[in-house]
Amino acid sequence: MRRTALSALLSHWRRHPLQLVSLLLGLALATALWSGVQAINAEARASYDRAAQVLGQDRLEQLVPSDGQRFSQDVYVTLRRAGWIVSPVVEGRWFRAGHSVQVYGIDPFTAPQGTLPGAVQAGGGIVDFITPPGQAYAAPQTVADLAGQEGLPPLIAAEGMVPGILFTDIGIAQDLLRAPGRISRLLLAQGQPANRPPLAQIAPGLEPRAPQEQADVAQLTGSFHLNLTAFGFLSFAVGLFIVHSAIGLAFEQRRPMFRTLRALGLPLRTLVGLLAAEVMILALIAGLVGIALGYVIAAALLPDVAATLRGLYGATLSGGLSLRPSWWLGGLAIALAGAGVAAAQSLWRLWRLPLLAPAQPRAWARASARGLLRQGGLAAVLAGVAVLAGVFGQGIVAGFVLLGAMLISAALALPGALAVVLAGAERISRGVLAQWFWADTRQQLPGLSLALMALLLALSANIGVGTMVSSFRMTFTEWLDQRLPSELYVTARTEEEAARLRDWLTPRSDAILPIWKVEGPVLGQPAEIYGVADHRTYADNWPMLRAEPDVWQTLARGEGAIVNEQLWRRERLSLGDPVPLPGGVERPLVGVYSDYGNPRGQVIVGLADLVAQFPDLDRRRFAIRTDPAKVPELRAALVADFGLPQDSMIDQVTVKQISLMVFERTFAVTAALNVLTMGVAGLAMFTSLLTLSTMRLPQLAPVWALGLTRGRLARLELGRAMMLAALTMVLAIPVGLLLAWVLLAVVNVAAFGWRLPMHVFPGDWLWLGALALAAAGLAAAWPAWRLARIQPTELLKVFADER
C-alpha cells in the first residue's frame, strides 16, 4: 500500500520536473550559501583552536609581565634557581619585504612535555636547532611564503603546524626579533615543588595567567564571523522562500490527488507520513548537492576571507579547506530542518483537511484578505520587537535581533502594502482592460508573494549592505588622507642606524616624526601605546572625534592621553577619565580619534612621556614630512648612502593603496554573497512565475475568448511581473536604508567599536532597480513566451473542463 501510494505521490514530480528542479535548486542553493559560510567559519575556528594550542597555552599556566613588555632573562634564571620549573618563551612579529610571521623562540631543554609541535620534537638534531644559524620549523604553506627571505634561519616544513608562525630556538629568535637577553613569558610546568618561594618575592613584575582555551584572535574575530553567519543565514532564508513556495505549490496541486488517495482507502496518517518522508528524501538529495556547492563557494571565498582576517586581525588561516564531518553533517541538518520548516504548514493543513473538502487547488492563487491582515498583524508585532531591540538592546546579538525582526517584518508586510497600492490603482483606472489588469494582479499576489518577499529581502540587503560599504569606503578614504599625512615611512635595521638616519634626514626634510610604540594591557585588554611628537602635522590632520582644547599641547607636556574610538566606546570613557597605562601610570583622557580597521584599543601619549615610561622601546620607525615630489629622490639617496633595503621604506601612496586593497578584499565576500542572494531571489521569481503560469489558464482563457490576443496577454503578463518588481524595489529602498543605518550605527559599533557616518547613493539604487527589472523580465519571459505560443485548443480545454 505504502509503495503504491508513494509511487503515485512521486509521479507528480515526474510530470512536473521543473517544479522538482526548482525545489531541489532552491534548497540546494540555500544550503550551499549557508554551509559555504559555515565551512569558512569552521576552517577559521579550527585555525584559532590550533593557535590556542601553540606551546600548550590552552592547558598550561604561564607567568606574564604585568606591563606587557619583554623582560630580562635574568628573571628566568632567578626563578629556576629558586626551584620554579619554568621555561622561557620569546615571541614577536618578524617583518620583511611585505611578509610577516609570528616568531616563537623556545628553549628545547626546559620546554614542558608536549608543548612543542611533534615535528619539532621528532626533528632530532638538537645541535643544529640551537647552534647559529639554527633552524626554524613552520607549516609548509608558511615555508613557501617565506622562501627566499633573507635574515631567517633555514626553514623546515612541518605538517600539522599552524600557518603564519615559526618555531626556533630562543637565542635565534632573540636575534631575529632584536631582543637580546629579553623574554616574553614563562611556561609553568605542571607539578611545581611545594616549597618554592612566592612569586611576588622573587619576580614582582610577573603575574600568573590561567590556561587560555581560546586564542586572542578567536575573541577578536568573533564579530566578523558572526557577521558572516548572519549573511549566510539571510541567504539561507531567501532560499527557503523558494523551497516553501515550491513545496506549497506541490501540495496545492496535489490536493485532488490527496483526496482521491484517501477516498480510495489510504489512511491520513500514512499519507502525511509518506509526504513527510518524500520531503525528507528530497531535502537529503538537495542537501548533498548544496554541501558540494557550498564547498565550492567556500573554496572560492576563502582566500578573500583569509586576506580580510589577516588584514584586519592578523589572524592566519590555512589555505586549504577540509571536509569536516561537523560541517557537512550540519549542512545536511540545516537542509532537512529548512525543508521541514517549509513543509510544516502544508503538512499541518493536510492533517486538518476534511476528506470531503473541495478538491480544487485552493486559495493558493486566490486573494485572501484575512490572510493578508493576519500577516500584517505579525509584521506589526515583529516591527515592535525590532523597535524594542533598538531602544533597549545592547551588543551585537541585540543588533542582529533588530536586523532580523526588521527584515522579516518588512517582508511580511509587503503583500499587504502591494495589495493596497494595487487596489488604489484599480480604483483610479478607467479602461476596462486596465481595471481587469489591476484586479487580476491583486488576485495573483498570494501566489507571487513569497517570491516578491524574497526579492524584497535581497534588494533591501543589497541597498543596506551597499550603502554601508560605500559609506565606509568614502569615510575610510577621507580618514586615510588624515591619518597618513607623512610622505615617507622608514624602518631602520638597528637603533644606531635609526639615529644616524635621523641626523642625516634632519636637514633634508621638513620634519621627522617618530612612530614609536609599545604593546601592553590597557583596561584589561591588549592595546598599543604610541608616542606622538610635538608637531603641527597632528593638529592639522589627525581625525579627532572629540577633544579638549589644546589637546596636542597637553600631550606634549605629558599631561594627557588620547584613545581610539573602539577603546573609548568599549570602556564608555569620558573626557577627563583616567587612562591607566601598562606599568601603573595614569593619564587623563583628553581626546578620542577614529581608527577604522583596527580591532585593538590604542592610546597616544606625548613622545617624551612614552620614552620616559618605556625607555627600552623600539625606536627604529619614523615618518618623514617632505615635498611629495622629492620622495623618489630621497628613497634613492637612503638606499645609496645607507644601503637601506627598498622594503624598509614605504611611501604614502603605497600605504594608502595597500590599505584600500585590504578594505576592498574585506568586502569582497560581502559583495559575493550579495550577488548570490540576488541570484537566489531571481530564481524564486522565475520558479513562482513559471508554476503560476500553469495555473493561470482558467483566468486568462475567458479574457482571450473575449477578444484579447495571446500575444497581448503575454505582454501584459510580462508587464505585470516587471511592475511588481518595480513596486517591490521602491518599497525596498526605505527598508534597505533602515538596514544600512542599523549596520552602521548598531552592528558595526557593537562588532568593531567604530561608528561611521551614513551617506546615500541614489545612483546605486537606479542600477539595482534596473537589475531587479531585468531579473523580473527574464523570469517572466519564458512563461510569457509560452503563453504567446499556446495552442488555442489548450485554452479551449478550460471551457471543456468547466461543469
Binding site: A8, G265, L268, L355, A359
Partner: protein, 219 residues
Amino acid sequence: MLLSLEQVGKTYVSAGMPVEVLRGVDLCLGRGETVALTGESGSGKSTLLHLCAGLDRADRGHIEVAGHDLTAANDAALAALRRTAVGLVFQQFNLIPSLNVAANLAFQARLAGHEDDAWIKALADRLGLSDLLGRYPEQLSGGQQQRVAIGRTLAARPALILADEPTGNLDEATGDAVLDLMMELVAEAGAGLLMVTHSPRLAARLSRRVHLSGGRLAA
C-alpha cells in the same frame, strides 16, 4: 447483507443554520443487487453515498458494510474498508493526473494489495482502453476518463460499488455502454451496486430504485 442502513440521520450547518439532510434513512442491499438512488438536486444523495463509503460519518443511526459496523469504526478502519471492500466511482473521475491510464487502472488493486494483471488487462479490453494505456488523464476525453475511473474501481474487485452519476458526463450511447459493462461486471463479480442518478431511464435498468426526498427514502 452487503449494505445495511438503519435510521441514518445527518445534519449540516449552513450559513449558521442547521440543515437536516437525512432524517432516518433505512436501506438494505444484497450481493448481486443493483440499486438506483434518485432524488432532486440537494436532496442528500451524495451525502448518503459518502456515508456508505465511510467518507463521512452519520450523526444518528447505524451503517454496516460487508459485515463491518461503520458507526463504531475509527479512521484507519474506515480507510481499510474503502481500500478492500468498497469501490467508488466519482462524478468528477478523480484520476491521478500524474499516472498514466495503465497505472490508474491498477492503482486501487495495488493499494488493496491484490493486483491481478490478467483481470486488469481484460478490463482494459472490455472498456476500450487498451490503446490508451500509455496516455495521461489530461490527454483523454471525458468519456475515456470515466471509463478509466470505472475500470480502476472494478480492478480491485470490491464487494460494494458506490457510483455517483457515473455516466453524468457521457453522451447517451456511451453512457449506456458504460452502464451495460458495469452491470455485467457487477453480476460476474457478485458485487452490489448503489448508483446515484438523475436519469429515470438509467434508473429503470437497475434491479431496484429508491427515491430520496425530504431526507427520507421512498421505494
